[in-house]
Amino acid sequence: MITLPLDIQLLFAGILFMLGLVGVLVRRNIFFILMSIEIMLNSAGLVFIIASAYWKQPEGQAMFIFILAVAAAEVSIGLALILRVYHHYRTLDVEAINKLKDKE
């Protein structure tokens, strides 16, 4: 129903993706990192829907459903892991999990 040129819509999805990326890189709370990942996933799905609308085919929407399912599974397991991390380290700081540091 909208008749915007394709670039603007894609750029909008791109902006959302960038915001998610910045969120992942900047935040120190694991929780927020996970949230930013959700933002990124969502924007990727948005691109698929835009493509589906352009080509008038349902494949893009099917892809979005699958992305949704993947995001759901990933969030559940991610949150379970965060629970474990919290029980062990007593903090949600991602810098606390640095056992793989290269010791001099």
Binding site: L25, I33, V94, E95, N98, K99, L100, K101, D102, E104
Partner: protein, 625 residues
């Protein structure tokens, strides 16, 4: 016949391989047996070859067998090829026979040593290398044997490696002979460049046709070969290593440093006689070197008190005689003297080994005395050996061989009165120091009881060698006595005949003079070393004696001239440019590691950052391409 020739060096080599690879597993007895048996088989083969060779004379004078093709690059084709003629036959007879006797002796001598098996391994390798050297038909194979004996000399001198002084002596020997090796290989390269082949016979024939006598190229080549010979045979100025080489076990001194390895230089010159005759100035140089060496080392032998070092100086002196003979063109006389020298010098060394054992590792002759009643066999054989060394007239082998050289040093075309005088003085000194040894060790008051009686394995070689020292000389008697020349005729098949330009009547006179000198020497040593022994002992402590004892200061000169500058250069080069490059590489690696380990800091967001950075770079590159 050809196969037999190729088998002669093969058996000691086989013995070496078996002992080297399996030596640890075999018992001492078996190792000793294998080591000696391989030489024994070679010896029997040599006897068979001698018999066959004598039968084929005079039609076939030399044999040659190619075992396989060693290398072939461009125009150079080198085979493993052995050649047999009269000269090499004499040499391999001596090497295998004396080697076999010394191996038997070593079984008893090295019995208590922990490295018994290693000893026989090295000795077998040595005999194999020496046989290759003597039988080689081309220069490269000769050089292989040359290097092989140098290596074995190093291994055997430093055999008791736990004492650093032995290692030092071994290194000294190796470095001195290395100088000669360099000269030798340069000479070989020159010959190859000029003639395009390395076959000894071909080179000799080609040189006769293409080089003029006395041309610079002939002089240079002969000089290089001479330097190689000097280093291996321990002549002046490269002689100090032989004295220190006495740090090795006595059988080693008997085999390597008296009869075989040090005569490799004599062999080299005799083999290349055609080349040397093309450079008469070098021949004269050979004679002068021989003459000077025999006088200088004669004095040193007289001044020393360590029994093995006296014998070492004596070896240097006798090889000086051989060089003198070669230099004046008395080729067969020099080879004859080589043969007799091998017998009596090996005998003297083996006897000295028995004495050292009996005196509980004592080397100083002035601490020994009166042994003749307690060790009769050793005494008699030692006396016979010393008499042969001194060339006691008419009854010993040494007389015939040494006298031939002394006569030719005057009478041949290159001979002169001065060379003869040097030879006579040398003969006097030889008599003096040989009888000095006999009288001081075996006569006089007994200072120490012998703690060890040699068994039959040590006595039998002594007896055999004593027999040969006496009767070996009778195979070539001068024209004044019996005119019986089987050996010279035999050797004249391959070596040029010695020319004589002074008249034969003088020969009588000169022989009488040398005989008288010898008897005078015996009398003088009797006075000094039996009657006035204490005076002799006191004289041995004076500075003049010390000067002679130190080998006329050659060691000090070399130390100042060569050793110190090289060591100084090595010290200032310790942290040189190439070293810094290597250190720099290691330093860079460590630095890079530090930098890169910075990226492994365990922080999740850092990893994500680098991930994004990578993605950005790749995408930017792809988009802007």
């Amino acid at each position: 016949m050809n196969t037999l020739i190729a088998l002669v060096p093969a058996f000691p080599l086989l013995g070496f391989l078996i002992l080297a690879l399996l030596g640890k597993k075999t018992s001492k007895k078996i190792a000793g047996f294998i080591g000696t048996a391989s030489i024994g088989v070679s010896m029997i083969l040599t006897f068979i070859i001698t018999y066959l060779y004598l039968h084929q004379l005079p039609e076939v004078k030399s044999y040659s067998v190619v075992v396989w093709n060693w290398l072939q690059t461009g125009s150079l084709s080198v085979n493993i090829s052995f050649g047999l003629d009269a000269l090499s036959l004499i040499f391999i007879l001596v090497i295998t026979f004396v080697g076999f006797l010394i191996h038997i002796y070593s079984i008893e001598y090295m019995d208590k040593d922990i490295d018994f098996k290693k000893f026989f391994t090295y000795m077998n390798l040595f005999i194999a290398s020496m046989l290759i050297l003597v039988l080689a038909n081309n220069f490269l194979l000769l050089y292989l044997g040359w290097e092989g004996v140098g290596l074995c000399s190093y291994l055997l001198i430093g055999f008791w490696y736990k004492d650093p002084a032995n290692g030092y002596a071994a290194r000294k020997a190796f470095i001195y002979t290395r100088t000669g090796d360099v000269a030798l290989i340069l000479g070989i390269i020159l010959l190859f460049l000029n003639f395009g082949t390395l076959n000894i016979q071909s080179i000799a024939h080609a040189a006769q046709h293409s080089w003029a006598t006395g041309s610079p190229i002939a002089i240079i080549t002969a000089l290089l070969l001479l330097i190689g010979a000097i280093s291996k045979s321990a002549q002046i100025p490269l002689q100090p290593w032989l004295i220190d080489a006495m740090a090795g076990p006595t059988p080693v001194s008997a085999l390597l440093h008296s009869s075989t390895m040090v005569t490799a230089g004599v062999y080299l010159i005799a083999r290349n006689n055609l080349l040397f005759t093309l450079a008469p100035s070098i021949m004269l140089l050979v004679a002068i070197i021989g003459a000077v060496t025999l006088v200088v080392s004669g004095f040193s032998g007289l001044a020393h008190h360590d029994i093995k070092k006296i014998l070492a100086y004596s070896t240097v002196s006798q090889i000086g005689y051989m060089f003198l003979g070669l230099g004046v063109g008395a080729w067969s006389a020099a080879v004859f003297h080589f043969m007799i020298q091998a017998f009596f010098k090996a005998l003297l060394f083996l006897g000295a080994g028995a004495i050292i054992f009996a005196m509980n590792q004592e080397h100083n002759i002035f601490k020994m005395g009166g042994l003749r009643k307690k060790m009769p066999v050793v005494f008699i054989t030692y006396l016979l050996g010393a008499s042969s060394l001194a060339a006691v007239p008419l009854i010993t082998g040494g007389f015939y061989s040494k006298d031939a050289i002394i006569w030719y040093s005057y009478s041949s075309p290159q001979g002169s009165i001065w060379l003869w005088l040097a030879a006579i003085v040398g003969a006097l000194l030889t008599t003096l120091y040989s009888y000095r040894m006999v009288f001081v060790v075996f006569y006089g008051k007994m200072q120490k009881e012998p703690v060890y009686k040699p068994g039959w394995k040590m006595k039998a070689p002594l007896i055999i060698l004593a027999f040969l020292s006496i009767f070996g000389g009778f195979i070539d008697m001068p024209s004044t006595l019996a005119n019986f020349h089987p050996l010279s005729n035999f050797l004249d098949n391959i070596l040029p005949e010695t020319q004589v330009i002074k008249s034969g009547n003088l020969e009588w006179l000169f022989e009488t003079i040398s005989g008288v000198i010898v008897l005078l020497g015996i009398y003088l040593s009797y006075i000094f070393f039996i009657k006035k022994r204490d005076a002799a002992e006191a004289f041995s402590l004076t500075p003049l004696n010390k000067f002679f004892e130190n080998g006329w200061g050659f060691d000090t000169i070399y130390d100042i001239l060569i050793v110190r500058p090289v060591v100084w250069l090595a010290k200032i080069d310790k942290r040189d440019f190439f070293d810094q490059i290597n250190i720099g590489i290691a330093y860079c690696s460590v630095g890079l590691n530090r930098m890169l380990s910075f990226t492994q800091n365990g922080k999740l967001r850092w990893y994500l950052m680098t991930l994004t950075l990578g993605v950005v770079i790749i995408l930017t590159y792809m988009i802007f391409k």
